[in-house]
């Protein structure tokens, strides 16, 4: 058995396709919907956990691709908790991509999630627990 968390993005034209039904009924994959936002006529997004045999899951994913659903693995994301951060800068030399940076005028530390590669370095070195790791469900 295999288990994985994925993000499905549906283009507008297939939002009304019952893809979850097909995954379950045609491929025997167990689908656990963790979060979904789907409006008829608009692009939709769904975070799911799939459980099934490897072959079932890969066939199911081929089906999704064939109908135009964009499938990406669920990423973890790092959050910077402003109210816990004291801008001490202890994270700065450990961040490999300068996602955590200090403005040397204001001395405030800021976090750019776009630059973050989720290496977890900051989690280990922040003494104020101002960095947290969360699954990217939004």
């Amino acid at each position: 058995m295999k288990q994985m968390k994925l993000v499905f993005v549906f283009p507008e034209n297939i939002v009304e396709e019952p893809v979850t039904y097909h995954l379950i009924a045609d491929y025997g994959v167990r689908v656990n919907i963790l979060r979904a936002s789907i409006d008829p006529g608009k692009q939709g997004r769904m975070v799911v956990e799939l459980v099934g045999e490897e072959i079932q899951i890969s066939q199911g994913l081929n089906y999704l691709e064939s109908v135009g659903v964009l499938v990406t693995p669920l990423a973890k994301e790092i959050r910077h908790l402003d109210d816990r951060c004291t801008s001490c800068t202890s994270c700065v030399p450990h961040c490999p991509t300068q996602a955590l940076e200090v403005d040397r005028e204001s001395w405030n530390v800021s976090f750019d999630p776009e630059k973050c590669i989720v290496c977890f370095s900051c989690l280990e070195v922040c003494i104020y627990q101002a960095m947290s790791v969360e699954e990217q469900l939004a």
Binding site: T86, S87, S90, R104, V109, E124, I127
Partner: protein
């Protein structure tokens, strides 16, 4: 034309006092010159916000109806052991205490240290209750033998921080020369000079601004994490004999202060528990010391800049722990440290700090505001520190 502390306090009371932070004063002196600025400026405020391990709190816990002697027995707060070798109801919780049986470095390196004495102190300051467990042997006057009760600051007769050593005047810059990462009280140090950590507010740091303890002594009133605190004594390891630069500031860790202050006046904005991976728990505190500008020498002291302050670079993989190897890898200015990179052994080494300059600035501004509003008066110390040079240059 010397000023006295009484004259400055009179100006504070009448709302006419002129105050700058130790950062602002640099430009003021540069613009106006010492001679003019000394006539105009009365007080310069300093500030720091940083982990200060040698901190802790005394509590006197209200007795239950059937009284109990914790003294000679034991006490824990949320599982964190407190020192109970005092009278019946007095206990002391050190910032770095951790619960017995807490997984530490022995149990999968590096340990995480999620809760300790500092957290007990922060929880109480935040208005939370913690679980007091006590045990004693029972006496005729204190018959109760066990106690288990949720207690907050309202359940204490007294609760005050009493910190044996705070506000180090200068500190080492920590690096790692070895080929594996190490976890220290100066943070995670990457191998082969992968990074460097410093821990001082530099030009805003209280004791850097009064290098010879002319105005800071026993009894000096300070800002301590939201409370009006006091210098109780020279701090432990206070060393006025450290080597000094020509400008009078020490080149190695030197003076320290023991501070005391009422926990009920403190807030979690200025007091935070911290966890160092692989090292332990400790407490970050905000300290601000106002410096009366008595004369030109005092003004020169407080207008010192990061460029004029130097710290030693020390290897924490060998020299610091074992005393073996190279004692000092070099000396760098705080300006270099704050630029984000220093040069050691032909290598550019990225820097980070554990002392928050952003919050140090906030402390200095907060104290400035308190003084301008007439809510904080300056004090004449009751006794000087060892090594204080009170009349140093005034005779000249």
């Amino acid at each position: 034309m010397a000023k006295t502390i009484e004259e400055i306090n009179a100006k504070i009371r009448s709302g006419k006092v002129v105050v700058f932070t130790a950062e602002e004063i640099i430009d003021v002196v540069q613009e106006k010159g010492v001679k003019q600025a000394v006539r105009e400026v009365d007080v310069v405020t300093t500030g720091t916000f940083s982990p200060m391990c040698s901190s802790g709190a005394f509590f006197n816990v209200k007795q239950p109806k059937e009284k109990m002697k914790l003294g000679g027995g034991f006490a824990t707060l949320n599982g964190v052991p407190a020192y109970a070798g005092l009278a019946a109801a007095d206990i002391y919780v050190g910032a770095t205490a951790i619960p017995d049986g807490d997984p530490r470095n022995s149990n999968g390196r590096p340990g995480k240290f999620r809760y300790g004495g500092a957290h007990v102190i922060e929880d109480l300051v935040a208005g939370k209750k913690v679980l007091l467990r006590g045990g004693g042997y029972g006496t005729d006057c204190y018959p109760r033998k066990t106690r288990e009760q949720m207690v907050g600051l309202e359940d204490m007769n007294d609760a005050f921080l009493f910190n044996p050593r705070n506000c180090y005047q200068n500190y080492n810059v920590a690096v790692n020369l070895s080929d594996k990462p190490i976890y220290t009280y100066m943070g995670k140090l990457k191998p082969k000079l992968g990074n460097a950590y410093y821990c001082s507010a530099g030009q805003l740091s209280p004791l850097f601004n009064d290098p010879y303890f002319r105005t800071i002594g026993i009894g000096t009133r300070v800002f301590l994490s939201g409370a009006e605190g006091y210098v109780a004594w020279p701090g432990t390891q206070h060393n006025p004999n450290a080597p000094r630069l020509k400008n009078g500031t020490p080149q190695t860790p030197a003076g320290t202060v023991a501070l005391i202050g009422d926990m009920r006046q403190m807030t979690t904005e200025w007091l935070r528990a911290v966890c160092y991976t692989g090292y332990g728990v400790t407490l970050s505190l905000a300290v601000g010391v106002p410096i009366p500008i008595l004369d030109e020498d005092m003004l020169r002291s407080v207008s010192i800049t990061d460029e004029q302050l130097k710290a030693p670079v020390v290897d924490y993989s060998e020299f610091y722990p074992t005393g073996q190897g190279e004692a000092k890898l070099g000396e760098v200015t705080y300006k270099e440290l704050k630029s984000g990179s220093i040069h050691i052994k032909d290598q550019d080494v990225p820097t980070g700090s554990f002392s928050s300059y952003a919050l140090a600035r906030k402390v200095a501004h907060h104290l400035k505001q308190l003084i301008q509003d007439g809510d904080f008066l300056l004090t004449q110390f009751q006794a000087p520190f060892p090594g204080a040079v009170i009349e140093k240059e005034t005779a000249k």
